[in-house]
């Protein structure tokens, strides 16, 4: 009886192993077929109409650029990646979008490795962490891959040397945010900042300039910075904490599209707060439209994320083709956006290119934009 049981259990397990492997292979095949339906790979190869002009500007054909956003789901990044695809398709190259699901460096490192193994020509990355990506990016650079950062820079010093595609001049973003708020609250009162992740490079560099600009307004006091982690629920929670801790708060700057949206939604449903609280920040016009039209938010700013990706694509192609370099003053053409110049390093930021000044959105112009 014992032996019989043993045998039954053994055969059960053997069967289990076989079925297990079959299902493993099956799930692999399922994953395989879902990949061919184009989940996150986007390849766009151009027709020959633009190849003549492309080669005349010295850009190589068939360039492969890896776009590594913070994660594959962030709508802002998705728009930027699409801009990159447009750029590379105009140039006869292709874009591969690869990243993880969590906004961590550990999720982006495998994508950098994949780019290295695929012998990509360039990597355009939005860094989840200022330093943890540097060793992998350095390895990529050692293989001859050109490194660019966009949206969120990486602080790797000269290892590797990379180009930062800045969405707007860092200082301008910081100062204009404070100026907009000051205008609306009469330059007096307590203000707070609802930021994204505490470690986000771009947020922290803007905040530095915000604090500098605040020195010009002696009656405005920055009482707290809270971190919403680019998550609507967390943003709302920290906002509520802010409101209960500082009942006399006059203004909130939220330089993150997720944060400003969450705050606007809350103010929209608690309109009594609007009598003494002003909200501004960086937001997507498509998301902020209803709030601007009904007066919850008067002004906010941003730029076109698609243009950011487009510019990064042209810069990557130019660097990979050798038609421009990281030396200060080098120029390159960026398709329909015009010509851009590489700016000198300053502070922790290396060579960079600036997309342009931020656009201020108000009731009058917010409906004109569809991003």
């Amino acid at each position: 009886m014992k032996g019989f049981n043993k045998m039954r259990i053994r055969t059960a397990r053997r069967q289990a192993a076989v079925v297990f492997v079959a299902l493993l292979a099956g799930s692999g095949l399922a994953a395989c077929s879902s990949s061919s339906s184009g989940s996150s790979t986007s390849s766009s190869t151009a027709t020959s109409s633009s190849s003549a002009s492309a080669s005349s500007t010295g850009i190589k054909q068939g360039l492969v650029v890896y776009y590594i956003p913070k994660d594959t789901q962030n709508p802002y990044e998705v728009l930027a990646d699409q801009g990159g695809e447009k750029a590379l398709s105009e140039l006869g190259g292709k874009v591969v979008v690869s990243s993880g699901t969590t906004d961590t460096a550990a999720a982006q490192i495998p994508s950098i490795q994949a780019a290295i193994q695929a012998h990509a020509n360039a990597i355009v990355i939005a860094g989840n962490d200022p330093k943890a990506l540097c060793p992998s990016l350095n390895q990529a650079a050692a293989q001859g891959i050109k490194i660019l950062a966009f949206d969120s820079d990486v602080n790797c010093g000269s290892s590797p040397n990379h180009l930062f595609i800045n969405q707007a001049d860092t200082q301008t973003i910081g100062t204009s945010e404070v100026d907009i708020l000051a205008k609306e609250i009469g330059s007096t009162g307590q203000i707070a900042i609802l930021s994204a992740a505490a470690s986000a490079t771009n947020q922290n560099s803007w905040i530095v300039y915000m604090k500098q600009e605040l020195a010009k307004y002696p009656n405005m006091h920055l009482v707290k910075i809270v971190y919403g982690n680019d998550d609507p629920a967390t943003s709302l929670t920290v906002l509520l904490g802010l409101l209960s801790a500082y009942p006399n708060l006059r203004g909130i700057i939220s330089p993150t599209t997720v944060g400003i949206q969450a705050a606007a939604q809350y103010l929209n449903t608690h309109k009594s707060l609007l009598s003494k609280l002003v909200l501004t920040g960086l937001g997507l016009p498509s998301q902020m439209k209803p709030y601007v039209l009904d007066g919850t938010v008067k002004e906010f700013e941003l730029w076109n994320p698609s243009n950011l990706g487009y510019l990064a694509g042209y810069a990557a192609a130019a660097l990979a083709s050798g038609t421009t370099s990281l030396t200060t003053g080098s120029t390159f053409k960026a398709g329909s956006l015009g010509t851009y110049t590489v700016l000198a390093s300053s502070g922790v930021t290396g060579p960079s290119v600036v997309l342009g000044p931020p656009t201020v959105f108000t009731k009058d112009n917010v409906t004109q934009f569809n991003f």
């Binding site: 014992k2 039954r8 259990i9 053994r10 059960a12 397990r13 053997r14 069967q15 289990a16 192993a17 076989v18 079925v19 297990f20 492997v21 299902l23 493993l24 292979a25 799930s27 692999g28 994953a31 395989c32 879902s34 990949s35 989940s39 996150s40 790979t41 594959t72 591969v96 690869s98 990243s99 699901t101 969590t102 961590t104 460096a105 550990a106 490192i109 495998p110 994508s111 490795q113 994949a114 290295i116 193994q117 695929a118 962490d129 200022p130 330093k131 943890a132 990506l133 540097c134 060793p135 992998s136 350095n138 390895q139 602080n155 505490a198 470690s199 922290n204 971190y227 502070g347 922790v348």
Partner: protein
């Protein structure tokens, strides 16, 4: 088979749920002991599970080589080591702890805390070796906190380690705040340390973390499967009361296993800091469930008393190679999550389903006769 819903920490030293007559609990365990008494067959059972894993690994490797052009290049092995090595290292002490019937969910937070300690000391000018030693010591202290609460106070390990998970992460946050060390004004980490993330061990394509993992796996494997200590661990997981009466110092073993886990996770944190050339307070955030998944896939029973290091090593290889292949194929990372979850589910459901099918077959052919170990409603 024994009771279906016994908690992992049943029979913790000193902890007996109130109002439960020991006899009833014991009888539930006696059934398990009944199947455990046939130790040699259990061994063969274990080998069957690992055989399945070996076949699964082969399938994964074949899949990867077919679907990804770059899977078979030598550097893939190095990259896989970088990506999963430090996680795999944490899975080894976890295996031993789960075998004794407990669990440690604070592993990823200890990884973060040790990195934070290392970074904070470095930021304050300490030199690297003293900082590393203090970070390891912090691991030992954290592990002994877990061990004390579980063995001395008899608290359930799943609840305790959720508490210490939060506590350790919180302390890491207090130490570092939003900073990433080295900051702009700090010296960079010494290059011999950061090279761990960049170059393989000379002469091979193995990352340093892979080599450390293999070495540690050998140590843990020998300890678990070939020493009296290992047999004591299995006994503690299967039948904690009987083990204690047999003279095994169950509480002592569990305590030192928690200290071991703390130190190893601290080591993993240091290795990660070296790989990234930096530390931030949220390093390894959320990884504890990944470690548990690796251990469970490796065939270690969550109730304790069954499992092998070999299984866990194979599980690491399967998950590591699958993740490499899927990323190289540029499969949506969400699909990767679904695959891992599905794998885990399948790996535990299949044996149960085949047992259920047999039971069903037996009932249908024998009719409603007598007691079967299965008594569903």
């Amino acid at each position: 088979m024994s009771s279906d819903v016994a908690p992992p920490e049943a029979g913790t030293g000193g902890g007996v749920p109130p109002a439960v007559p020991p006899a009833a609990e014991g009888s539930g365990k006696v059934v398990a002991a009944g199947s455990a008494v046939s130790r040699p067959p259990l061994w063969r059972l274990a080998i069957r599970w690992e055989t399945g894993l070996v076949v699964a690994l082969a399938a994964a490797l074949v899949f990867g080589s077919l679907e990804s052009a770059t899977f078979t290049s030598r550097i893939t092995l190095f990259y896989a080591g970088i990506n999963i090595g430090y996680i795999a290292i944490m899975a080894l002490p976890m295996t031993l702890i789960v075998v004794t019937g407990e669990i440690d969910l604070s592993v990823a937070s200890m990884l973060g805390l040790s990195g934070a300690v290392l970074g904070d000391l470095w930021h304050h000018g300490w030199s690297i070796w003293p900082a590393v030693l203090v970070a390891l010591a912090v691991g030992a202290v954290g592990g002994s906190l877990n061990g004390l609460l579980v063995t001395k106070l008899g608290l359930p390990s799943i609840a305790v380690t959720i508490g210490t998970l939060t506590l350790f992460r919180g302390v890491a946050e207090i130490l570092l705040g939003s900073q990433t060390i080295p900051t702009a004004s700090d010296r960079p980490f010494p290059s011999w340390l950061t090279n761990i993330g960049v170059v393989p061990v000379s002469g091979t394509e193995l990352s340093y973390t892979t080599v450390i993992f293999i070495g540690l796996a050998v140590v843990c494997g020998v300890a678990l499967h070939a020493t009296p200590l290992g047999r004591a661990m299995f006994a503690a997981g299967l039948q904690s009361e009987a083990a204690r009466f047999a003279g095994i110092r169950v509480a002592r073993i569990k305590f030192w296993l928690y200290v071991f886990s703390g130190v190893i996770c601290a080591l993993a944190g240091i290795l990660l800091a070296a790989q990234n050339s930096s530390v931030s307070y949220n390093a390894g955030f959320g990884l504890e469930l990944n470690v548990v998944a690796i251990v469970l896939l490796g065939g270690v029973s969550i109730f304790g008393g069954r499992g092998s290091i070999l299984g866990v090593v194979l599980s690491v290889a399967i998950i590591g190679s699958l993740q490499m292949a899927l990323t190289q194929m540029n499969i949506d990372p969400n699909v990767q999550e679904i695959v891992i979850g599905g794998l885990l589910l399948i790996s535990v459901v299949i044996p149960s389903l085949s047992r259920a099918a047999r039971w069903l077959g037996a009932r249908l052919s024998l009719g409603r006769s007598g007691h079967t170990p299965w008594a569903p409603d």
